[in-house]
Symmetry: C2
Subunit: 361 residues, 2 copies
């Protein structure tokens, strides 16, 4: 790859990285989960051109294009790799596909401990080269304007899809494994944690300047199982990650949706930042763990359906709740939905930047 050979340009806007490391910034940085997504007409055009979602993910030129689209419109402080959380199980041979109007599905699901025993961690460059190529290309095309965030699904979240064969409401099969065969369940968590760690490290080597682990379904577990499985596996990832490259720190963010009860335990993994959904008051989260980690979040995505003035008002409320000082990355508490008018994203980004200046010296 050409991108591999050219030295990466210096970062012009490093607010995200600084905020994730709890260093001073001039204004609170903002990016938005699913900022490259269906609410943008130009995204829908490329998505249509690609034909299906997996082609979009696995074609570096197209993944790069949609990654950059929101940055052309809005003053966002970061790009996030356009990809899917389920690339790893796909590379393990489970056959990821997206049925129209339904969520992600696997052609093969894990049926037994024997199926789990057969799983091998994919080689990131050999088996997931299209992701690494996309990272290199995006990093080159970004020209150092803003940092590029790499990401992966958490081991427990990946496991739910692998065991259920797709999305689930109750996670009955996945939870049954934890209750009935802890040995196989721990083995699955270990294989997935090692796979995610290798995958994120390869993204870092390819150019990702921060990484994030999405634990979408950790909040469905009991406190005991969350700590024994989902969090322990994320700890195993954090312990293996490249945390500094060429003298520059690579911050890692852990985000468990519905994880508000476990913030102290998440912060204790040694991650740099913790993602918050909207159910916790950010002031309370800061009191609890703000001396250890940065906080990312936490506006209810449902606000985006309201008027621009309500969006701006709610952004102010959250910035005021965090208050003065370092360590806040503004974001929604979950992905932006497809029905949102892009102009409201513009209003939000401007408001976060403008209103937050008073909180930074």
């Amino acid at each position: 790859m050409q991108a591999k050979m050219s030295a990466p340009p210096a970062l012009k806007n490093d607010r995200l990285i600084r905020a994730l490391l709890r260093q001073p910034v001039d204004q609170t940085p903002i990016w938005i989960m699913r900022q490259a997504g269906r609410y943008l007409p130009e995204y829908r055009a490329v998505r249509e051109q690609a034909g299906d979602f997996m082609t979009l993910c696995s074609t570096p030129d197209l993944a790069c294009e949609v990654t950059l689209q929101p940055l052309r419109r809005f003053g966002l402080d970061a790009a996030i790799l356009f990809s899917d959380i389920l690339t790893i199980p796909d590379a393990m041979g489970l056959g990821l596909y997206f049925a129209e109007g339904e969520g992600p599905k696997f052609k093969t699901r894990l049926e037994s401990a024997a199926d789990i025993a057969k799983l091998r961690a994919p080689d990131p460059e050999d088996d997931l080269g299209y992701v690494m190529d996309a990272v290199r290309l995006i990093r080159q095309e970004l020209k150092g304007e803003v940092p590029l965030i790499g990401f992966a699904g958490s081991p427990w979240t990946l496991a739910t899809y692998m065991i259920e064969g797709g999305g689930s409401k109750t996670f009955a099969r996945a939870k049954a494994l934890l209750f009935e065969d802890p040995t196989a369940a721990h083995h699955l968590m270990h294989v997935l944690a090692d796979s995610v760690a290798a995958y994120l490290n390869a993204q870092i080597e390819a150019g990702a300047q921060a990484v994030m682990v999405f634990d979408s379904w950790g909040g469905a577990l009991s406190s005991a199982h969350y700590k024994e499985y989902s969090l322990a596996a994320m700890q195993r990832i954090v312990d293996q990650l490249i945390r500094e490259k060429d003298g520059v720190k690579i911050p890692v963010t852990l985000f468990t949706k519905g994880g508000g009860l476990w913030l102290e335990a998440i912060a204790a993994t040694g991650c740099d930042a913790v993602g918050l959904d909207w159910t916790i008051e950010i002031a309370e989260a800061r009191r609890r763990i703000g001396n250890k980690v940065a906080l990312q979040g936490n506006m209810d995505p449902a606000v985006m359906a309201a008027s621009s003035s309500t969006v701006c008002h709610e952004a102010e409320r959250i910035l005021n709740s965090f208050g003065h000082g370092n360590g806040h990355v503004f974001n929604l508490g979950h992905g932006i939905t497809p029905d949102i008018d892009p102009d409201k994203v513009d209003a939000l980004v401007r408001q976060v930047h403008q209103h937050s200046r008073q909180f930074h010296d």
Copy 2:
């Protein structure tokens, strides 16, 4: 009604009431959310006989029969009225129905502030007489064996169905009302709170010996909106409830699924007990609010799909976590699912009773 005229027999098993009031018991009482439900073949037979779910709810003889079914099988410490959380909006004229394989739906949904302004609190005996008749009949048929729990949906939970017209994943329409028209939203909460209070008081007058408010969707709100809307409305209910009848206390339980972050605020309403889902460790909940209220819960319903020995082991873990002393009512953290073998419920009830004796003097 005949049942109205005969004096109710004294309560033979008052463990539930005593535990809800944090009084000493010989063993921890247990009942199970949706204990009268599809996992029981005898329930499915009556359900088929009734034709549709609403007929089952609105025919006192049938509602009484299915309420009593689980008590014939298991040594449960309470009966809970068989009904639906959406009877109030149905009585308000929205037209509740159940499409096969889908959740509850309304023929009419709230489209505007004008629709909200038109809503009137139903008269429990005139508009929901079938519920009161069922309560009277069940109370008579129970012959004082165990107490009868009455219940209602929380105002916010009712509002989500009334505004969305059925179930929802994101509650986009219902949340939009909170963001865009707080005046109409507060009015809706007030009408619903007053309706629920009158409805629960009528259930108490008809014979319910404890009442519970189910806030199924409070956990979808931001902390600020939960407190401003869902919890404030439940506070308004608690303030209006009959708390003692004929010299006997009527305990009230509030249950917000996903409400673990807000336990102190829930306990501060003056309710007697707080329902817990399985995401919080019950020892932690006890440390936080156990000096104020009883706790009800909190086993993950997914455990019930595992073996009887796993079910029993998990029950022990939760009883051990609560530990010595008063104020625990064992339950699942959410309703039992239709796929569960009834024998496992039997094993669970026995195990909770037996294992908990060591924790009571």
